[in-house]
């Protein structure tokens, strides 16, 4: 009996998100239609703008890179049972840390310097989100609310420093920090090939998603983290260091989001400014939910939503749609992804053999009623 059940679960894991996204696209088409646009044109443009040619692929991959990292910021705490959504705040502070390190150490240069500024971004982001984990474990403060509040405080700090103490006097219209030295910047992977401007951030994102998945699946601490997420009481009873694991998951998640901000500065913007506050942290929440907090499923989901974001400007140019049309599509996708969970056989169950018995009982009860 177990084998078909597993097969069902695997099919569900693929079909439910796909169905939900199809429903979201359908709803988006209806929405465009109510506004007097042509749904088929919108769908075509979405596809063309995201995956139509080499240029749109480059755009898509560039946008997907930070999304992978901000999605990890949601996924890792989620596997420990926490709904932390402070990715946006960790991202902007990571960007600030990355742009700020050369202020403290003006001599930074070269690949070693690049590594240091990226680590600074990751460190700041990690420390910031760790606060949410600590508050939850030590004071019982709801981590969703505290992480969002921390996010708003982070954005205020970011604006204060970028427009105040750290402002580059040469940035007149758009307050920015001093631009990074050329040798500190992160370049394209293969500038002369089809990949074009796609920078090393994509590789960092892919590698970290891979590593996070390996950690969760094949290491003792990753396993312990999933036990904590499945049942924190049971984890405490068997003597797992619950507090430490939860704070660790928050720190690693925050570090991923901080790294996203640092990469955006080092590879795209070259200085910290308001363009960084572009909702990447919020889209990352959606990506993580679509991937069901599975790090290995994050890259395809990130590429999909990076693609939709890339197609947004095409919708704007060709159909005169407001730039918020992508947000509407994301909102629909989120709602349908959540609704799809109601159809799943059993949600958020750890793939732990011991949990199988727990999984069977509600299923039987549902048949009886």
């Amino acid at each position: 009996m177990i084998t078909p059940r597993r097969w069902h679960a695997a099919a569900e894991a693929l079909l439910l998100p796909a169905g939900a996204l199809a429903a979201a696209l359908l709803a988006f088409g209806l929405f465009i239609w109510f506004g007097g646009g042509s749904p088929s044109e919108a769908w075509t443009l979405l596809f063309m703008g995201a995956f139509g040619d080499a240029f749109s692929w480059q755009n898509t991959l560039q946008r997907a890179a930070p999304l992978m990292l901000t999605a990890l910021a949601v996924a890792l705490p989620a596997r420990a049972g926490l709904t932390v959504i402070g990715g946006e705040g960790a991202l902007v502070l990571g960007a600030l840390g990355c742009a700020g390190l050369p202020y403290l150490f003006p001599g930074l240069a070269g690949a070693g310097g690049s590594l240091l500024i990226l680590l600074a971004g990751a460190g700041v982001g990690g420390a910031w989100v760790a606060i949410a984990g600590l508050l939850r474990q030590k004071r019982g403060v709801n981590e969703t609310i505290s992480s969002l509040l921390l996010g708003y405080i982070a954005i205020a700090l970011f604006k204060h420093f970028v427009e105040g103490p750290m402002r580059d006097p040469a940035s007149l219209n758009k307050p920015s920090t001093r631009p990074l030295e050329d040798s500190l910047r992160i370049g394209a992977i293969a500038p002369d090939s089809l990949l074009g401007d796609v920078h090393w951030g994509l590789v960092i994102g892919l590698l970290l998603c891979l590593a996070a998945g390996l950690w969760l699946s094949f290491t003792a601490s990753g396993f312990a983290l999933r036990v904590v997420g499945g049942n924190a009481r049971a984890a405490r009873l068997v003597g797992l260091p619950t507090d430490r694991l939860i704070v660790l998951a928050c720190t690693l998640g925050g570090a991923a989001a901080g790294l996203a901000g640092a990469v955006e500065v080092a590879a795209v913007h070259t200085s910290a400014n308001a363009s960084l506050i572009a909702g990447l942290g919020y889209t990352g929440i959606l990506v993580s939910f679509v991937a069901r907090h599975n790090p290995w499923a994050i890259p395809p989901a990130a590429i999909l939503f990076g693609g939709f974001a890339a197609a947004g400007s095409l919708l704007q140019r060709r159909m005169g749609q407001p730039d918020a049309s992508v947000l509407v599509l994301q909102g629909f996708a989120f709602v349908f992804i959540l609704a799809a969970e109601a159809l799943r056989g059993r949600l958020f169950q750890l793939e732990v053999p011991r949990m199988v018995r727990l999984r069977v009982v509600p299923a039987r009860r549902r048949v009886a009623t």
Binding site: K138, G140, T144, L149, Y152, H160, G164, P322, V328, A339
Partner: protein, 306 residues
Amino acid sequence: MSINDWIDLLLAIVGGAVRVGTPYLFVSLGECLTEKSGRINLGLEGVLVFSAMAGFGGAYLSGSPWLGVLLAGCSGAALALLHGLLCSLQRVSDIATGIALMLLGAGLAFYLGKPLIQPQAPQIPSIELGAWSTSPSVQSALSINALFPIGVLLAVLLAWGLRNTRWGLTVRMVGDSSDAARALGTSVNGVRIAATTAGGFIAGLGGASLSLYYPGSWNEGLSSGQGLIAVALVIFARWSPLRCLGAALLFGGAGAIGPALQSVGVSGGYYLFNAVPYALTLAILIATCSPKRSLKGAPMELGLSR
């Protein structure tokens, strides 16, 4: 700064407490009602943005601010209804749905509100309580949003209704023990959907206050976390509508510090002063929450107070 500057600053903060606090009041009342039924609606942030846009649009198109207020309430109720229905599905978490609603509400509002950024809509009238004074700063401090008395009335009504009516008892029962409610034949999901929708309507009035009174225009940065602060504010107010009123004024005052300082000419650290409400919320959460016991006054079914 001279003595007069300090008095002006104080007056600006007191007046700002009502002006900035009115949206907090409505959203926290809406959230209070929702949470009393045992569900959290984090999506009130999205409701606030969406209803602010709808209220502005309604007032602009109809020419009447009160029709705009009504439309804001109804659109808030519609979004909250979606939250209520989604959460009634099996295994759908109310926190995750709230996050989804935050994104959806903001997305819809930015999309539909694009043409509303330029025009001016008729505003909600203000009640001039300061007409007796000759000082312009007293007059402006005591010029009060006409929605504010409605909010005060609503807080009293809600407090009385929850305590003394059959309907209030049902909501509290569903929030405290869904098993007991089911045993009595009450539809738990039905009551929760109704409470969430009504809460969305009330929160929508707060959105109207944002776009039709203060700041009094529609733009994409209109609400930045007020809806979320209101959720935390309900915890601070221990789920009592009357205490929500006091908490909303306190937070309104905290939110008014930045603009008030700017109005007397202090502009350094503007962004930091704007972050005061968030920091205050966090500080209050840290001070009031405890890992050992669930919060006093919290509905038992609420996932927030675990």
